[in-house]
Amino acid sequence: MKKTTKNIIYIALLLLIFALSYVVDIIAPYSMLVTVLRKGAVYALVAVSMNLLNGFTGLFSLGQAGFMLLGAYTYAIFTIPTAVRESVYYYYEGGIINFQMNMILAMLLAGVVAAIFAYLIGLPVLKLKSDYLAIATLGFAEIVRALAQWDGFGKITNGSNLLKKFPVLDNTTQYFLIVAICIAVIAMLIHSTYGRAFKAIRDDEIAAQAMGINLARHEQLSFVISAFFAGIGGALLAIFQTTVQANAFKSAMTYEILLIVVIGGIGSITGSILGSFLFIACSEWWLRFLDEPMFIGTFQVPLLRTGFRMVVFSVIIMIVVLFFRRGIMGDKEFSLDRIAKLFRKKAKGDKK
């Protein structure tokens, strides 16, 4: 295939996806599909940002929920309309912030705040290696969660209470657009000379350093950029949920994102995106029927009741982790060439 035809096909695919997201809103505005698409998109961004760190730079960080919390809170705090602050900050006399920011600016700010925190926490923490780094970042996320719930910051964070009434996006295309832009930036970063340096660090720290790559600086950079996009992801999650509460950003959330990254394939952007939509669709939608009693004739299918969905789901995850260790995509990216190859292989197999 020629490069130009390929590019045309890629662009067409992208447009098709956007068109679909637009159409879905019109024909089935309240379906689970919309929920899955929106949440999937948000998780895709967060998963890609985590992949940048864990998959491409080889830093095992479990602080993603903390950065998302920072992003979600920043967005919510600065965009709640001044008129309703009184009712949102019911316990704190309307809070101390009395202006409202533009949505896009607030989203960027959400990323920036997360990035600043990442920078500060990264200074000491990035000296640690592998599991120690993982556990330290996990601890950091828990500290952030405790701080956000602290009464002392109540006038800003509304204590442990919900933040709500902030502006939200009202169609799926907008979610897709924001997420696509962010992921595109991450992808461009990964394909730049910096991305190569990140991968070098992942492959072999000592060799990377011997090639003149400043380890501390590049790790810090990757950490901060990952946090920036996790912050934006957090803001989008807030928008999706219409309310924010620190309680939701537990380590379980980080684990979920990590599982998405693993299922999609560590070191594959398209893998993370695919993994995210599959994960959300399975957990929220496709497997729902397992939670309800099912009758075939008069025979009641055994085992089906609330919670069975999650059992099946976690078994599937274990199967993937144990038998398909490289995930859906491995460290490869989705490309037409690979699909063409796949078909060719199949055709060959058929002939035999």
Partner: protein, 279 residues
């Protein structure tokens, strides 16, 4: 001749084990100098100290007359230190490996350390990152196209130089051993060094390949105006190529000089006793 690299009283001690003991050596511009010694003599440790992977316990290293490392026994080492010249150095100057590479020292590894997920081409390309002018924004948003293009051209050039241009899109780790070694050299050259450290470049090569390598090292020395310091067990290669040779055993310098001088030195022969010279 200008001095490029100078080690003075360098001691590297791990806990109670002295790996390099009070070593002093000099490498001058344009020379090819070999560091030899029996297995476990501490040769690779010397490389690691020079390139900053290890922080020497005591001593001073100068590169182009600039202090690259200066250290004295500190903390726990104060009591444990078994080396000499403990009181000579007072300052502690430590540079990280990447800084040292930036100053112009590049190296290869004894146990090949290529970036395993990358292609041959990318392995060289990534080493050009060091001399970039772009920052993370310009690089991400493709505002550095010119530089990127130059990088790619240069990388290709280097691959042609080592004869790997035909396998440039293959995974580095899928190459045969000899080619991986040459790729390591190409990658080291991509950092634009003035001093090249080669750690057993001929390991695992047959005599013919070794001969080719000898010519090749000389060739790149001339072409890139390099000074070369190498560790090697292939004595033919060492004697062929070296302007001067340093011999260490148990971390200590036992002999140095031109190949002829070293070959005749009884201490060297003793040290190597039981070790076949021609593998």
């Amino acid at each position: 001749m200008r001095n490029v690299l100078s080690l003075k009283d360098v001691t590297m001690q791990f806990g109670g084990v002295v790996a390099v003991n009070n070593l002093s050596m000099d490498v001058n511009e344009g020379e090819i100098v070999s560091l030899i010694g029996p297995n476990g003599a501490g040769k690779t440790t010397v490389f690691n100290v020079i390139t900053g992977v290890y922080e020497a316990t005591n001593g001073r290293i100068l590169f182009n007359e600039e202090v690259m490392l200066e250290n004295y026994p500190k903390g726990k080492m104060k009591k444990l230190y078994k080396g000499e010249n403990a009181g000579v150095y007072k300052k502690s100057v430590v540079k990280l490996p990447d800084k040292i590479t930036k100053m112009g020292i590049a190296r290869t590894f004894q146990n090949i350390r290529l970036f395993k997920s990358m292609t041959v081409f990318e392995n060289v390309l990534v080493a050009m990152h060091l001399r970039r002018k772009s920052n993370v924004f310009t690089a991400t948003f493709k505002l550095n196209m010119k530089e990127e293009k130059a990088m790619r051209e240069k990388a290709l050039e280097l691959l042609c130089e080592v004869g790997l241009e035909d396998v440039k899109d293959e995974l580095a780790t899928s190459l045969p051993y000899g080619k991986q070694r040459r790729l390591e050299i190409a990658r080291a050259l991509a950092t634009q060094p003035t001093l090249l450290l080669l750690d057993e470049p001929a390991a695992g090569m047959n005599p013919q390949e070794t001969d080719e390598l000898t010519a090749f090292i000389k060739h790149i020395r001339d072409k890139f105006n390099l000074t070369v310091l190498l560790i090697e067990h292939h004595m033919n290669l060492v004697m062929d190529i070296s302007d001067r040779i340093y011999v260490i055993d148990f971390g200590k310098l036992i002999s140095s000089g031109t190949p002829e001088v070293v070959q005749a030195d009884q201490r060297v022969i003793d040290a190597y006793l039981g070790v076949t010279e021609d593998e």
